[in-house]
Amino acid sequence: MELNIPTFLGQTIAMIVFVWFCMKFVWPPIMNMLEERQAQIAEGLAAADKGNRALEEAEVEKQSILDEARGQAREIIDHANTRGGSIVDEARTEAGSEKERILAAAQAEVEQEANRAREELRGQVGVIAVAGAEKILQREIDSATHKDLLDKLAAEI
C-alpha cells in the first residue's frame, strides 16, 4: 500500500470532473426524459380512461337508437299490414260491385235479345200461319180481306 500525492489528487480531481460532467450533461436530460415519460403515460392512461367512458356512452346511445329504430320498424310494419288489409278489402268490395254491375248489364242484354227474338218469331209465325192458311184455303181466303183476322191471330200467339 503506497500512497502518493499526485495520484491521489489526480483521482480526486478526476472524480470531481466526472461528477460535474454527470451532473451537467447526463443526469438532467435522463431525468427530464423520465419525468416526461411519466407525464406521457399518465396522459395516455387518462386518454384511455376517457375513451372508455366515451365508448360506454356511445354503447348506451347505440342501444337507445337501436331500440327506437326497432320500434319505428315495428310501427311501419303494422301500418303496412293494416294498409294492405284495407286495400284488399277495398278491392274485394269494388270487385263485388263490378261483378254485380256486369251481371245486371248482361241480364238486361239477354232479356232485350230474347224480346227481340220473340217479336221476330211472332212476326214469322204470323207469316208462316198465313202461308199455311193460304195453302189450305187458297182461293177463298184473300189475304187482303182477312188481314186483320190474321194479325189478331199473330198477336195471340
Binding site: 502518493n4 495520484t7 454527470c22
Partner: protein
C-alpha cells in the same frame, strides 16, 4: 515456477510509476523501485485506467442522454435508464433532502467503481502482457486495487460530508451539537451545571474525540473496504494464475464469485456515500 512466483506476484502488483529523480522526470521502467516510497510519484497506469473508464462512463451515458427518447427506448437507453432509475430510487429511499449533487454523484460512483472493479475479470496476464509487447513492463490493471484511487474518491465524499454538515447545521450546530453533545448528551444525562456550563467541558471534549474519530472513520472505512476487497480479489486471481493448468476451473469459480464482489462493492460504496451525505443533512 515456484522459485519466481514471488517475483511474478510482485511484478503484477507493481504500478507503472513516474517521478522526479534529481530534478528529472523518470519512469520506473527497468528500475523497478526507483519511485518506491516517493510521495510525489505518479501512478501512470492507475491514472490512465481511471480516467479512461470514467471517460467511457461519461461518454456512454452522455451519448444516451443526448439522443434520449421518451417513446421507444433502444437497448442501450433501456440499460442506462435502468441504472439511473436504480440509483435514483436508492437516493430517494435514503436521502430526503434536496440536493442537485447527490444523485449524479451516486450514479458516477456506482458506474465508475463498477467499471474499475470489472477490470478484475480480465484475465490477469492479458493487459500486462500486451503492455510488455509495446515496452511497458509494469501495468496494474485494476485501478480500485490502488489505495490512491479509493482514498481520492472517499476524500471527495468526506469533503462533501463536511460541506453539507456545515451548510445545513451551521458551524455551531455541527461542531457543538453534532460532535460535542453526542453520544453522551450532558443535558439528557442530567449532569448538573451549578450555573456554569463550563462544567460540561470534559464530557464535550470526550464526545469530540469520539465523534471526530467516527467522522474520520467514514472516509477511511469507505476507501479501505473497497481497496481491501479488490486487492484481495486481485491477489487471489494472481495466485490462481500461478497454478498452471489447474487454474482454469479455479479461475472460473473465483471469477463467478468475483462478479458478485465487483457489483456489491460498487453498490456499497454508492450506498454508504448516500447514507453519509443524508446523515450530514439530518440532525440526529
Amino acid at each position: 515456477m515456484a522459485s519466481n512466483s514471488g517475483e511474478y506476484i510482485e511484478h503484477h502488483l507493481q504500478n507503472l510509476q513516474a517521478c522526479t529523480v534529481d530534478g528529472e522526470w523518470v519512469t520506473n521502467l527497468g528500475q523497478t523501485k526507483i519511485c518506491s516510497g516517493n510521495i510525489w510519484a505518479v501512478n501512470l497506469d492507475t491514472m490512465f485506467f481511471t480516467v479512461t473508464l470514467g471517460a467511457l462512463f461519461c461518454f456512454l451515458f452522455w451519448r444516451v442522454a443526448k439522443n434520449i427518447e421518451t417513446g421507444k427506448p433502444g437497448k442501450l437507453q433501456a440499460m442506462v435508464e435502468m441504472v439511473v432509475e436504480f440509483v435514483d430510487g436508492s437516493v430517494k429511499d435514503t436521502f430526503h433532502g434536496k440536493s442537485p449533487v447527490i444523485a449524479p454523484l451516486a450514479l458516477t460512483i456506482v458506474c465508475w467503481v463498477f467499471l474499475m472493479n470489472l477490470m478484475d475479470l480480465i484475465p490477469v496476464d492479458w493487459l500486462p502482457t500486451a503492455a510488455h509487447l509495446v515496452g511497458i513492463d509494469y501495468l496494474k490493471v485494476v485501478p480500485s486495487t490502488d489505495p490512491n484511487v479509493t482514498f481520492g474518491m472517499s476524500i471527495s465524499v468526506f469533503f462533501l460530508i463536511l460541506y453539507y454538515s456545515f451548510k445545513i447545521k451551521g458551524v455551531g450546530g455541527f461542531v457543538v451539537g453534532e460532535l460535542m453533545l453526542n453520544p453522551l448528551n450532558p443535558k439528557e444525562l442530567g449532569i448538573p451545571t451549578f450555573g456554569f456550563r463550563i462544567l460540561w467541558l470534559p464530557i464535550m471534549a470526550f464526545n469530540l474525540i469520539l465523534e471526530t474519530v467516527a467522522l474520520l472513520a467514514k472516509p477511511l472505512s469507505l476507501s479501505l473496504r473497497l481497496f481491501g476487497n479488490m486487492y484481495a480479489g486481485e491477489l487471489m486471481f494472481i495466485l490462481i494464475a500461478l497454478l498452471g493448468l489447474y487454474q482454469l476451473p479455479l479461475h472460473f469459480g473465483w471469477a463467478v464469485f468475483h462478479i458478485l464482489i465487483v457489483t456489491l462493492q460498487a453498490y456499497i460504496f454508492m450506498m454508504l456515500t448516500i447514507v453519509y451525505l443524508s446523515q450530514a443533512h439530518e440532525a440526529h
